[in-house]
């Protein structure tokens, strides 16, 4: 009995954080996949259907004027990380309200209520990467311009890290503020829909007119999506945009931590 209590006290704050984060993340994934028969399939079906629609509209109806061949791979390399971004940010608007009862009864570090959403959506994103691989291999068979994997695929790793930083920063700002301003939940949804078209997902940075390009690069997602796309389309890698992404993401994380620590007392009283 005493030994058990002792071992717990020896845990560093980091171990405690990691353990609690992992428990809640696996809980989320377990709930999602144990309640629906097609669990994993559903999480990739949404981006697949969207990719199918955009592919049809932009290559069959209008004739492709943006992106690169094979367009479906180009689309997916932007859409799948976008699903992570939009899913995690919109879940963050309910980070406190949905788990109010649990938050009122445990003392785990509060930022976990945000980071667990970033992590569980991130794991779903990583699990959906094989879909791109399948389409890329598919283009070898049916396309005249098959997708070729370049060494730039290594950029995927810093891209994932940077995107996690960005989403965590935004989540730390959004989650506590929604508790005070309920309208923010709807505002965030609207902003996300706007951000979908404002970010290089159905097009690439290079498709924009020269004078608009640097404005678009201010969007931290631009640099990040470029890093993912570089795996198949090295010309999409834009170092200037990556620098801006890094700066903006780190700044948002800093602001997020400040907002979160200033508001958390009031949040705990309100929920």
């Amino acid at each position: 009995m005493t030994s058990a209590a002792l071992s717990r006290r020896e845990w560093s704050p980091f171990t405690r954080y990691r353990r609690s984060l992992w428990l809640l993340t696996t809980r989320d994934l377990k709930v999602r996949y144990s309640t629906s028969f097609l669990g994993y399939f559903w999480s990739i079906l949404d981006p697949l259907v969207m990719a199918g629609i955009y592919w049809f509209v932009f290559t069959v109806v209008f004739g492709r004027g943006v992106g690169h061949e094979p367009y479906i791979v180009f689309l997916l390399a932007g859409l799948l990380p976008w699903m992570w971004f939009t899913g995690a940010v919109s879940d963050c608007t309910r980070a406190f309200t949905r788990e109010a009862k649990l938050i009122r009864s445990t003392t785990i570090p509060r930022t976990i209520w945000v980071t667990r959403l970033v992590l569980s959506k991130g794991i779903e994103f990583v699990a959906s990467i094989p879909v791109i691989a399948i389409f890329a291999i598919g283009t070898l068979i049916w396309s005249k311009t098959p997708a070729v994997l370049h060494w730039e695929v290594l950029w995927t790793i810093p891209a994932i890290l940077l995107q996690a930083v960005l989403i965590t920063g935004i989540g730390l700002i959004v989650a506590p503020l929604v508790v005070f301003f309920r309208d923010l939940e709807r505002a965030v949804k609207l902003i996300l829909r706007f951000a979908f078209y404002a970010s290089p997902i159905i097009y690439g940075l290079g498709d924009l007119p020269e004078q608009l390009r640097w404005v678009a690069a201010l969007n931290p997602l631009a640099g990040i999506f470029g890093m993912y796309r570089a795996a198949f389309f090295p010309q999409e890698l834009d170092l200037f945009a990556i620098l801006i992404s890094t700066g903006v993401s780190l700044a948002l994380l800093g602001i997020g931590l400040a907002v979160f620590s200033r508001t958390i007392r009031t949040v705990l009283k309100e929920i």
Partner: protein, 249 residues
């Protein structure tokens, strides 16, 4: 806290916490980011203010007061699920909070998953839970439902399994907030026996109840809260008598 103090000690000094009287009251960004020293605005009230007391390890404290006088708020402060707006609440050692005990349970997961999840969030390792798992199920008397989704349990079963998990935590401080009002008589008696065992094991107990009999059974010392202030800190008998004298039937 520079000074050393023993595991299971609670030290509350000048603690106060204020809430909004009206949820819809106007709020500004300035409010939100204001430090904790800002003055009270109209529409706010102090749920607790100027509360001072210290609890030694192994003490059993009963908290007495009418509804809405700050009892649950005090428990939440000690559980550190809310923070005081003024003063300090120092709790040395972990807390097993029997407050909103079913809060961490997920409807869609099985009883087994829920036990691992809740105990894990309260700091138990997987190995520790493995060791206690059978004991927990036996205590909750729901051995046959271990793989049933939590939502299909009866409300009595839900409370039983939750109590069984949280009361197995190896923490030096236990908080009990009238959770035992639920459940049938036999199970309540079992819970009480469990609390007595824990007390005998040297745990610090914080007990909120309206039942004079329960208070006298477990507690040695009483805290009487009225209108958000600590009115009396004395042996439990004295506190109960004073409460009865003030609001007695």
């Amino acid at each position: 806290m520079a000074e050393e103090f023993a595991e299971g000690t609670i030290r509350v000094s000048g603690a106060g916490i204020r809430y909004k009287r009206n949820r819809a009251s106007r709020r500004s960004f300035k409010d939100l980011f204001a430090g904790r020293t800002r003055r009270t605005r109209p529409g706010e009230f102090w749920a607790l203010r100027g509360v001072d007391f210290e609890v030694a390890p192994g003490e059993a404290i009963g908290v007495v007061g009418r509804n809405g006088q700050g009892k649950s708020t005090l428990l939440k402060l000690v559980a550190q699920v809310v923070y005081p707006d003024e003063g300090t609440v120092a709790v040395h050692g972990g807390v097993a909070p029997l407050i909103e005990i079913t809060g961490g349970f997920v409807n869609d997961l099985s009883v087994r998953d829920n036990v691992y999840l809740t105990a894990g969030l309260h700091g138990m390792t997987k190995h520790e839970i493995d060791q206690r798992f059978d004991e927990i199920l036996e205590f909750a008397e729901i051995g046959d439902f271990v793989d049933t989704p939590y939502k299909h349990l009866s409300s009595g079963m839900k409370v039983r399994i939750a109590f069984a998990v949280v009361s197995r935590l190896e923490e030096p401080i236990i908080l009990v907030d009238e959770v035992l009002a639920v459940g049938d008589k036999a199970f309540r008696e079992k819970c009480y026996t469990r609390i007595e065992e824990l007390l005998a094991g040297g745990r610090t107990l914080f007990f909120v109840s309206h039942s004079e009999r329960d208070l006298l059974r477990f507690c040695t010392r009483g805290l009487y809260l009225d209108k958000g202030a600590l009115v009396l800190d004395a042996p439990i008998r004295e506190v109960v008598d004073r409460y009865n004298a003030d609001y007695g039937v």
